[in-house]
């Protein structure tokens, strides 16, 4: 399963900014609720996280030593 940015619905105020900046259509708004869909096209540009005024989206990095994944 492909990891996607994480959304905290409790913090989201549905402003739609993340939907508008995402280039790959991974973030959709349906009946005033944001959903993040799994897609290979998401290259972790982190723009959704950057643009969100409510810190509702996070794009975390896993940190690993080489050859230890």
């Amino acid at each position: 399963m492909l990891e996607m940015p994480k959304l905290d619905l409790a913090k989201c105020d549905c402003c739609g900014l993340c939907v508008s900046v995402c280039q790959c259509g991974a973030i959709v708004m349906t009946s005033n609720r944001i959903t993040i869909i799994e897609t290979d096209d998401c290259g972790w540009c982190t723009m959704c996280e950057l643009v969100c005024p409510s810190n509702a989206i996070i794009c975390a990095y896993e940190i690993v030593f080489d050859n230890e994944v």
Binding site: S20, N55, I58, E62, I63
Partner: protein, 223 residues
């Protein structure tokens, strides 16, 4: 063009104005639509209009001589992005690009001057907005000039990396920034610098430490 009164009221520049004043100010604005990715303003360009973002988002950035982009801020609805150059009548110190389809409300320099003369309240609000922006830019500049941030980022990576058996902590750039006492923009830049030096490799949602020794040296050098 009649500009949305509620939108104007939400802009810090125009806070405290009554409906009639807002309606009359609204007459001075014109709307402009911008595509995603479009450059709205280039560093070094002459600025003739003050733009407020009505919908969408814009990134404000500078480009270094070697072509690297440094994001300075994200401008969201209700905020302006080219006020510095509008007020000192000089060229723009930054570039601005639409991160999404964007609607802008623009007011020409001449109309703006009239506004400032006619509405002392707007002039007062403006000084406050500019002071806030100065404060924000100063903290960013202070941080950008601190060479040791990169060493602190290196330490955070080493301390949070998984070791094969235990998985590493997952961190956002924002969290790393909080840990090193800096801002996200500087962390993003530090990570790119560490990658350019071959110490790490940035993969999709993973930071792979490829040269542990190099990172340790950087931590020592900044201690």
């Amino acid at each position: 063009m009649a500009t949305n009164r509620e939108f104007l009221a939400s802009i810090p520049y125009f806070s405290g104005l009554d409906d009639d004043e807002l309606d009359s100010i609204g007459q001075s604005f014109s709307e402009r639509k911008v595509e995603r990715g479009e450059i709205i303003q280039l560093e070094g360009e002459v600025v003739g209009e003050l733009f407020f973002v009505a919908s969408g988002a814009i990134k404000v950035f500078k480009t270094s001589s070697d072509g690297k982009e440094q994001i300075l801020s994200i401008v969201r609805p209700g905020e302006a992005f080219n006020d510095i150059a509008i007020f000192d009548d000089a060229i723009s110190p930054v570039s601005a690009q639409a991160m999404a389809p964007v609607t802008l409300y623009g007011i020409s320099r001449i109309e703006l001057h009239t506004l400032l003369r006619d509405y002392p309240r707007v002039a007062l609000n403006t000084t406050r907005v500019l002071a806030e922006r100065t404060r924000q830019l100063m903290s960013l500049i202070e941080d950008l000039s601190f060479r040791h941030v990169i060493g602190r980022v290196a330490r955070v990576l080493l301390e949070n990396a998984g070791n094969g058996t235990a998985p590493g902590t997952r961190l956002t750039q924002q969290e790393m920034a909080a840990m090193v006492g800096s801002v996200r923009e500087v962390v993003a830049r530090s990570l790119k610098a560490l990658e350019a030096e071959g110490a790490i490799k940035l993969e999709r949602n993973r930071i792979r430490i490829t040269d542990r020794k190099a990172l340790e040296n950087m931590v020592e050098a900044s201690a």
